[in-house]
C-alpha cells in the first residue's frame, strides 16, 4: 500500500508541500485547502499532518462514500457524500479536512506531488 510517510525531524516548515497540494487539487495556493498541514508543537518542532490511509473513516461514513481502492488508498466518492463531516471529527490523525467553500471533505491520496517539491525529504511516498 502506497502512503505518504514523514520524517518531521527533517521538516524546515517551509510549507512548500501545502502550496503544492492546494495548487494541484484546488488550483489555488492556500494552506487551508491543502491535504497536508505543517504546524509546530510547543517546542517549535515541526508536526506534519496527513492521512495514513488507516481507513477508520470508512466505517464512520453513513453512506459508504469512503472506500479503499485497489492500491490501498482511502478515497471519497464525492457524488455519494452527503457532507456530514463525521469523518473529519472521527479521524484519529486529524487529517480529514473541511473548507467552507466545499460541501465534501478532502484528504491525502498519496499522489506524491508534495514529496517531489519537499526540499529536505521530510515527506516521501513509501510502499507499506
Amino acid at each position: 500500500m502506497k502512503v505518504l510517510s514523514k520524517k518531521p525531524e527533517l521538516c524546515i516548515q517551509c510549507h512548500a508541500c501545502e502550496s503544492t497540494c492546494s495548487s494541484t487539487w484546488f488550483k489555488e495556493d492556500n494552506a487551508l485547502k491543502s491535504c497536508i498541514r505543517i504546524s509546530g508543537n510547543e517546542k517549535g518542532d515541526a508536526v506534519i499532518t496527513s492521512c495514513t490511509q488507516c481507513g477508520e473513516c470508512i466505517d464512520i461514513c453513513p453512506v459508504e462514500a469512503i472506500t479503499r481502492d485497489k492500491n490501498g488508498i482511502v478515497r471519497i466518492n464525492k457524488s455519494i457524500c452527503v457532507g456530514c463531516f463525521m469523518c473529519v471529527g472521527y479521524c484519529p490523525e486529524l487529517a480529514m479536512f473541511m473548507h467552507d467553500e466545499y460541501i465534501e471533505p478532502f484528504k491525502c491520496i498519496a499522489c506524491g506531488q508534495c514529496a517531489k517539491n519537499c526540499p529536505t525529504g521530510a515527506i516521501f511516498i513509501e510502499q507499506e
Partner: protein
Amino acid sequence: MNVEKLKSAHKLLSEYKYELGKIDKGYTNRTLYVNLSNNEVKEKPVTQLMKDKFIGGKGFGLWYLWNAVTPETKWNDPENEIVIAGGPLCGITQYAGAGKSLVVSLSPLTDMPVDSNVGGYFGPLLKFSGFDALELQGKADKDVIVFIDGNTGTVRIEEAPLEAVDSHVLGEQLTEMYAKDEADKRNIAVVSAGTAAEHAYVGLLNFSFYDVRRKSIRLKQAGRGGIGSVFRDKKIKALVVRFAGVKGNLNNPADQGTLNRTGIKFHKEMHDFDDKQNRMRQVGTANIIEVMDQYDLLPTHNYKFGSHKDTYKISSKVFTKKITQGMADGCWYGCSMSCAKAVDHFELKTGPYKGQKVIVDGPEYENAAGLGSNCGIFDPDAILELNFYCDTYAIDTISFGTMTAFIMECYENGILNKERTGGLELNFGNTDAALELIHRIARGEGFGKIAGLGVKRMKEIFIREYNADPDFINDIGMEQKGLEFSEYMPKESLAQQGGYGLTNKGPQHDEAWLIFMDMVNNQIPTFENKAEALHYFPMFRTWFGLNGLCKLPWNDITPENNKYTDEPAKIPEHVQNYVDIYNAVTGSHIDKYELIRQSERVYNFQRIFNIRMGKGKRINDRIPYRAMGPVTVEEYLSRQERYDGQLKELLNYDTEGKTTEEKMRTLREYRESQYEKLTDAVYKRRGWTMDGVPTVEKLKDLGMDLPDVVEVVKKHI
C-alpha cells in the same frame, strides 16, 4: 418479493404535479395538503406569521391542527389531521440528530393534541421534495398510499389493497416497489403503522430509513399518543417519499461554514468522550438500565419499586452483546451519536412471524424498562421479542409496558382473573402471557381489545364492569390526561413528579427529565429552584421539536470542561451550538434567551389548545398517587427506613407505636401537599393563573396574543 403483483393492484385515485422548489435558509415556504375524503391535493403557503410565531416542526403541526378542528372534534372525525413537519434545521447533515419529523394529531388516548418526535428519513426527504409540512385530513374509503416523488414533482394517491399492514413487511415492500434499483433505496422513506393500530388506541407510526450496510429497512417510531391509530382510521396504509440527490447544503443555509465547523466540533467530542461517558454508540439509551436500578428509579412491578435483584439479567452489558457493533446507526445522516441500535438475525419464538429471523430496532432504555422490569420480565430475549412486535404491529412500547404492568397488578389483586383475560395468567413476570396479550391486541381479540385502549379506558371499564375499587384503581393506574407514564419511577423525586404531571401532552420525558438534578445531584432543593427547572427545561426541550432536532445530543454527551461552567445542567456550550446552527441556517440573530422565548410561544399555545379542547387546567395536571408515594403497605415496608425517617425529619412526626396505615396516611397528606405547592410555584414561574391558564399579559409579552388564542383564554380567567 413479488412487488410487481402488489403494484399492479394499485388504483390511481389522484395525481398532482407541482413545481420543484428551492429551500431558502431552512424553509421551502410551502405545505402539502392532502384530503383523503375527496382526494384533493394542494399546496399552501407557509406564512411569515407561522415562521415568526411557530418556527416549524410541532409548531406548524399545532397551528394547522388548531385551524382544522373545533372543541367538539374527536380523534376519529374526518376533520382531525395528522401533520408531519421537520423544521428549519431538519435535514442538515452536519450536526447530530437533525433529521427529525414532528407528528401532530388529536390523540385517541388524550382527546387533545399530541406531538411525537421521530427519526428516519421522511422529514428531510419531504423537505427536499419541496415541503415544510405534510397536512393530512379526511378519511379514505379503502386503504391508500400517498406517494411523493420529490424529483419529478408528483404526488399520487393510490389505492393499495394487497400490501401487508405490519411495518417490517410493508416497509420492505414499498422500498422495493418505489426505488429504481438497489442504490436508489436510500432515497425512499416510508411512514406506516401496523395491524394493532386498527384496534388499539395506542397505535404508533413507523418511519423508515434504508440501512445501506444491512441492506434492509430500519424503523424509528413516533410512539406516543396513538397517532398510528388515527392513521389507520384514515385508511392510510403508508406514506412514501422518494428524493434522490441529498447533499449537505440543500437547506441553503445562510452560513454553511459555521454549520460545518459546529458539527465537526461535536463529532470530535463524540469521538473523544462517548466511550468514557454514555456509550451511546455501543448500546444507545439502554446504557442507563443498571444506573436507574442503582438509584432506585427503575420502574418495577407497575412502579411499585425502583430496583430488582434480577436487573443484571437485562443490564446494558447483556444488550451490548446482542447488538451488532460497529454499524453506522444514525437515524439521519451526520448523527455521530448513532443511538439507533439493532439486534440482527433475531429468531422470533411466537406469533405470526414465528421462526423468522428479523432485525429488532432497539432495545432502547424505555423498552427494556417498560417491557422488562415494569412487568417483572427479566428475560432479554422476551424484551426483544416484545419490542419487535410492538414496532411491527404499531404499538407504543411505553404505553404497552405501563398498561401491561397495570393489568398485571390488577390481576394479582383479583380485579382481573383468567375468565376476564381469556385464560391469560397475567402475573408479574409471566412472559408467555405478555407475548400472547400483544398478539391479541394486534388481532383486536377478547381482552386484547380492552387492553389496547390504554390505562385510562381500562380503569373506567374495570370500575364499571368488574366492580374494582375506584380509589385503588386510580392510585395505581399510571396515566395522566389519558397518556401512560414513561419509564422512570418518580416517587422519590418531587421535581420529576412535576416533570411528568405539569406537562402539555401527558406524562412523558420529552419535556422534563429532572430525576438526576433533583435526586442524585440535589441541585434544585427549593420550590423556586424546582419551578425554575420546570420552566427552563420544558421550554428548552420544546425547541428541539420546533426545529426537527433530537434532544439526545444535547446532554447525553458533555464537553470536557462542562462541570466548570456556571450552569452545568444546561450544558452551556451545547446550548450555544444550537444558537449557532439556528442562526447559521436561518440567517437570524437569536441568542439563548430568544431561543427559550421561541419555545414559550408554542408551549403556551399548546396549553391553550388543550384548554380549548376541555383539558389543560389544574385539575388535569394531577397525577396518580403511585407516582408520588407508596400506595400499598408492601411498598411502604420496602422503603420503611426512608419513609419513617422522612416523617420524623420533615414533619416531626413520632412514628413510634403507629401502624403502617397511619404512617402512610400522614406521608400521603404531606406528599400531596408538596405537589400542590410545586404546582403553585411552577404556574407562577410560567406566567399562568393558579388554575393553570396562561394570562393575557403573558401572551402579550411573548407576542402570542393572537385574537383566537386570547378569546379562549378570556373564557377561563
